[in-house]
Amino acid sequence: MSAFSKVGLLAISLLGCTGYLGGGERRALGEGGASSVAGSGSGGQLPSGACSASVPLRRLTNFEYENTLRDLFPGFDLGQPGQDVPGDVVDHAFVFDNRASTQGLSATHVDSYGQVAERVARLVTSDAVFTGCDPTSGTDACFEQFLATFGARAFRRPLTAEETSRIRGTFASVKAGLGFQQAMQAAIERVLQSPQFLYRLELDSAGAGPRARLGTHELATRLSYLVLGSTPDTELAAAAGDGRLSDRAVLLAEARRLLQQDRARRTFEHLFDQWLGLPAVEDTNKDQALYPRFSSEVARLMLDETRTFLARVLLEGEGGFGRLLSADYTFVNQPLADYYGLTPVPGGETLQKVQLPPGRGAGLLGQGSFASLHASDKTSHPIKRGVFVRTRLLCDELPPPPGNIPPAPMFTGHETARELMAKHSAAAGCQGCHELIDPIGLGFENLDAAGVWRELDVDGLPVDASGYVSQGGEIEGPFVGVAELGAKLSGSPKVHACMARQFFRFSFGREPFASDGCTLDELTSVVAGSGDYAALVLRLVESDAFQYRGE
């Protein structure tokens, strides 16, 4: 019996208890209200052995930090505060920018958080409409009112009496020497540098213990950062504040509402940009003697193509995860169709859906962005392509290349990639790993280094796009060309599990442990059933792992 079916049953019975399956019947749980810092909790405790997940302490990534500031201070020109802080650590194997264990701060972070806070505070305190307080003649009472509202939004829950008193202390001491506006600024600066703002703390204020249901404010925060990459909006905060969010149906309804927002698409793009490494396409250079038609404009269109494809397939009902690696269509405008040599489409900038010729449909694996990104300036690069499939789609961990490797053979214009690879990987000690990588990468040989389909290789030789997957479980064995590879991968349980794993990493900021198998199984079933992005998010939100504290 797989972990999934066991836990699946458990989860369904739990959902039944809360009335979710009954169609959204609301239950007012706990006391709720603005006075509770954790918000309403009391969703009970998960039985021992039920599916739960520990969630590490997470600092706002620069993406989330900037989104959050924009949402806290709407209408102000804040610049790009996420760019003013040192870049996030992006672990090669982890792929995403939010790995909690790598989020340690340096003095430069502290400095830049302070500078951004000063800049923002100066800007917003000069606006009496925003603060409700006149910068020159504001009163302490006015400040108190501002602090209660602003503090609750920034900390994503009401301030405690102690916190209010501390910030009031900062305000009072600065006011004595520098006046009201500076004191307001200091209070805002303090909030924006507080660990309560910079981290998503899930302190168990109520002492509910492990496996207890999260408080409503904590749930709201998890939900909002998952879907929007930002702080809860007024509606969600209100549902947390009055305790309604403890109702699973309300939580799900809020998740659906947030998924409809434009900001949700921004998070979706952020996820896939990182997973697939897409934005780097725009930095790609090609040898102009070999690929005179490739340009930064073409690269930009290729990025558009893939982003449009992802949105249509995963957000707009064009087939879900099952089409990601097997769609026999893509989205191009006239210049891009010309570049690829596809059937002309009507003029204009807008990308339109076009059917691909037979044998070329492999979803994003057949697109120019993938092919030209995973290539050198002169040749296709079967190693890069194979490594992408292995690490990003199959979640394999490849051992590092050995020391003292022989020089890579050079392309002089007359060698096929297959010939070059054969030379390079023949050496003793290289074959083991390259056997996992190269035969997959060689299956992409119809796509040249600049992303264009070709039937002929160097010196007019026909392209040989035969390949095979070794150590690939169900998909082990030979294939010819990207369409066959895409079909193999699309049906592969290993690929489904890997996609679930990538989403898990993105959602939890850590690698899954063995105990997360139950959560991964839930997510995998969405991918395997060709669900879309919303289905994946909703499945996570309704899971116990999302709603309850870990062990």
């Binding site: 870049g87 992006v90 600066e189 660990p195 590092p400 490797i405 020089p407």
Partner: protein, 451 residues
């Protein structure tokens, strides 16, 4: 031989008269050793090792009498200021060569504290910044494998944008055009209050971190502890800057001015490993090195890491007369041997970097300090994470310039047999800086022959 020639003048002249260095090399190199500990350390990094099996880098000859190769020959004008090392290995290689050797090497395999940070922590004379990290075309977001400096397990990212670096180092002085805006008493008092405000906010953050830290699990606490350390470090910087507000900057500092006119319109500063290449890299390098010199002249820090790109970099070199204008750094490192054009291109790249090192040595030697020049009191170390771009951790092309009064220069030191691990060299650097580090990366002996 002209005994009246001061070293400074020679170094200035060296770029124009190729015969002068030869004269220079005939001069006896009296040991400046034991004059005292070196005052500052600059680790100058370039990626992907060297072109080892060709006679491009390592000198040939004996300790005192040696000839330079085609790449190292760029440094001929300052040969007597240098110590070339042969046979020093990366003693702590593990994991992926391109994404692990850099942090492995700098931390001696611990991935907690890098040698520059260990030395910075041991220095007693406080400068505003315990260390500075400069980048040229370095990545903004990287795995820790793309970093050299670590403190308490946290990577210290280099700053690749000179404008940002200038503001970072000079702050109020930068925005007020050199001198602190303390013209009238009222303004000075206000500035003091603003500084106090900053410090009191940070104290508040520390207090909150302390309160929260006891309520989270052990792994989460590590993040909060790292944060608290970072706040304390930055408080020290702020306090030191505040204290120096009223004081005169060192005479050699003058008015901090950054000339970025060569980089007008530049918007991209960060490179990476995924195709990102930074345009005008040569101009950025020049400005960053000028800024490094300025920071040293103003004694803003005594420990600096200066980094050119990184291992696995996607940098291209179209600013040099290379044939392969779109070929990236990483590919050059692996394929330079395969065609004559690749080889000559790679030579151009290596020689360009060497010329940047030369500029730095010459510039340091042109700034008077104490009885001599700034170079005399500086340990400037050319370093690399590999011996060869093809992943070999052996025989790293280290060069030490200046000697900091602790090491005798103008030499070529060869460590035969199994060679020596780099930990010994790093331990020697610490000792030369007056930091009595007992061991580094599991090694507790210094590198023989340097003193």
């Amino acid at each position: 031989m002209k005994p009246s020639l001061s070293r400074r003048r020679v170094l200035r002249a060296a770029g124009f008269a190729l015969t002068l260095p030869f004269l220079r090399s005939l001069e006896p190199r009296a040991a400046r050793a034991a004059e005292g500990a070196a005052k500052r350390l600059v680790l100058w990094y370039q990626p992907d090792g060297d072109m080892e099996e060709k006679p491009y880098w390592f000198p040939r000859g004996s300790e005192q009498d040696f000839l330079l190769g085609e790449v190292s020959g760029v440094l001929e004008p300052v040969k007597q200021e240098l110590i070339f090392l042969h046979g020093v290995h990366n003693g702590t290689p593990a994991g992926d060569c391109h994404s692990d050797y850099m942090p492995q090497m700098q931390t001696g395999g611990t991935r907690v504290d890098s040698i520059d940070q260990l030395i910075a922590a041991g220095l007693t004379g406080a400068t505003p910044f315990s260390s500075l990290e400069f980048g040229v075309g370095t990545d903004r977001e990287a795995s820790n494998g793309g970093r050299l400096s670590f403190k308490g397990g946290v990577a210290l990212a280099p700053e690749a944008d000179p404008n940002q670096m200038f503001l970072h180092v000079f702050r109020d002085r930068a925005s007020s055009g050199g001198s602190p805006p303390a013209d009238d008493a009222q303004a000075a008092a206000r500035l003091k209050l603003l500084h106090e405000k900053r410090l009191s906010i940070l104290d508040g953050v520390l207090e909150e971190l302390g309160a929260v830290s006891g309520r989270v699990g052990q792994e989460d606490r590590l993040l909060l502890d790292q944060h608290a350390t970072a706040v304390r470090d930055f408080e020290k910087t702020l306090s030191a800057l505040n204290q120096s507000m009223g004081e005169a900057a060192p005479a050699s500092c003058g008015m901090p001015v950054l000339d970025v006119s060569a980089l007008g319109g530049q918007t991209q500063w960060h490179g990476g490993i995924d195709n990102a290449s930074v345009p005008n890299l040569d101009k950025i390098a020049k400005v960053q090195q000028d800024l490094l010199l300025l920071a040293l002249r103003c004694d803003m820090s005594r420990v600096v890491t200066f980094m050119y790109n990184r291992s696995l970099s996607s940098q291209t070199f179209e600013f040099l007369p290379v044939v392969n204008r779109t070929t990236i750094s990483h590919l050059f490192a692996h394929t330079w041997r395969t065609t004559p054009e690749m080889e000559s291109d790679f030579l151009l790249i290596k020689k360009w970097r060497a010329s940047m090192f030369l500029q730095l040595v010459q510039a340091l030697a042109a700034i008077p300090e104490g009885a001599g020049t700034m170079l005399d009191q500086t340990l400037l170390v050319w370093m690399c994470e590999m011996g060869l771009g093809s992943h070999a951790p052996s025989n790293i092309p280290f060069v030490i310039a200046g000697g900091g009064g602790a090491f005798r220069t103008g030499r070529f030191l060869q460590y035969g047999g199994a060679g020596e691990p780099h930990q010994k060299l790093y331990l020697s650097l610490a000792h030369a800086m007056g930091v009595p580090l007992a061991s580094f990366g599991g090694v507790s002996e210094a590198l023989p022959g340097l003193v």
